[in-house]
Symmetry: C2
Subunit: 217 residues, 2 copies
DNA sequence: AACTGTGAACTTCTTCACAGCC
DNA sequence: GGCTGTGAAGAAGTTCACAGTT
């Protein structure tokens, strides 16, 4: 038995699929039933050929000469990304950023459910946010085990992040999204993805100034 | 007169330089005076050869057989990234995420200064955050002009983001960091960088599940 | 002996161009 | 005619391997 197409989808493509999904949701809400790659690509801010190549990883899903059916394509991407399954996530560090994330409605519709919010500061424990109560760090392992949480989000200060990462990994979390400005080490089998807000600003500013030098007005 | 080395640094390299800078700051605080590429690379979570290639864009800055001088390298990267110059930034949308960003000390030490916080909700106008007072949207153009702000950060809801982007661009902002979950269109000469928190989670989750299929236990 | 700096191989991602289908 | 799906070309980024320097 042969695999009809390679079972792996490139990371860059996965990121864009999530964007297409959002655009498709907006189109469906607007009552549109079909859309061509050019329009979808423009709305997603990508090249039309690249969009078609991205979709080709899902197998043929458009109609030549016509375009893509909005509802069908939405379903197909949803299924591939696993949006319908509910994934349990825990969030550690309920400062402003943690609060923003736990409140953010966008996660719920994407298959993510926060099943535990944790903070080391007694003053924050007990606060209610978006239907959940902030718990003390002591309960972390217990909650991860009970809920089978497989995703952890770290929004603690930099100093605390590695210790939290270690505990999450030991408790059985397989994927970690790290917002703390440090590079985390995790055991094999656990993957860490980093979002560094000040690096984003730095890159934006640098590329902007470099562009000015390259292209004089 | 010839250019001794290409004046452009790849985007991927710039992002890592910002990370190296943070590691170097920590090393300097710890009293270290030299460091080899292997150790620096491990702390930054990258390949040693890649790190050396990144640094080669700054010209030779290490000593063969020894390594890099922490203080010198820190200064060199700081200068290239423009950390010492102060760049005026405005932030629009003072929800939890906006509050988190405006409060974040990490920006100040990286050459970014928030010179204006804006929100459309009257209830939020007047609040004081990190030494600044939240202003009404009407004052946006005025403040951008008066402060020569060149960077704008958007943390509004998705619906408001495009209008804010248009106003920022018209007011003279050249670089925009967008946290709203929409793809923004901006005039040429203005570049937009997007950070999409739910896309990050989606990619993390998908790559995790795909990994499980690829490598059976 | 140890470690940097870099050409060359390699991989990954993007863009192009066009055949194939409706 | 118009638009998808994809092989081929191109660009960007990564890793390797080693010459060169202290």
């Amino acid at each position: 038995m042969i695999q009809p197409r390679p079972r792996t989808i490139p990371e860059a493509t996965v990121a864009r699929l999530a964007v297409y999904l959002r655009v498709l949701t907006a189109l469906a809400d607007g009552g549109r039933s079909t859309v061509a790659s050019g329009e979808l690509a423009a709305a997603a801010g990508v090249n039309p050929a690249g969009l078609r190549k991205d979709l080709s990883h899902l197998g043929p899903c458009g109609v030549r000469g016509v375009g893509y059916e909005v509802a069908t394509l939405h379903d197909r991407i949803s299924r591939v990304l696993g949006v319908e399954r509910s994934r349990a996530c825990v969030l550690v560090g309920i400062g402003n950023l943690g609060t923003a994330l736990s409140d953010y409605a966008g996660f719920g519709t994407r298959g993510f459910e926060f099943v535990g919010l944790f903070d080391a500061a007694p003053a924050r424990v007990g606060r209610r946010i978006g239907g959940h109560t902030v718990r003390p760090m002591e309960e972390l392992e217990e909650v991860v085990a009970a809920t089978q949480a497989c995703i952890g989000v770290i929004t603690t200060p930099a100093e605390a992040a590695q210790a939290v990462c270690d505990r999450l990994a030991a408790a059985g979390v397989r994927s970690i999204l790290n917002f703390a400005p440090v590079t985390l080490a995790a055991p094999p089998g656990v993957d860490v993805r980093k979002v560094d807000l000040s690096v984003e600003l730095q890159v934006l500013a640098f590329m902007g100034q470099q562009r000015l030098v390259g292209e004089p007005a």
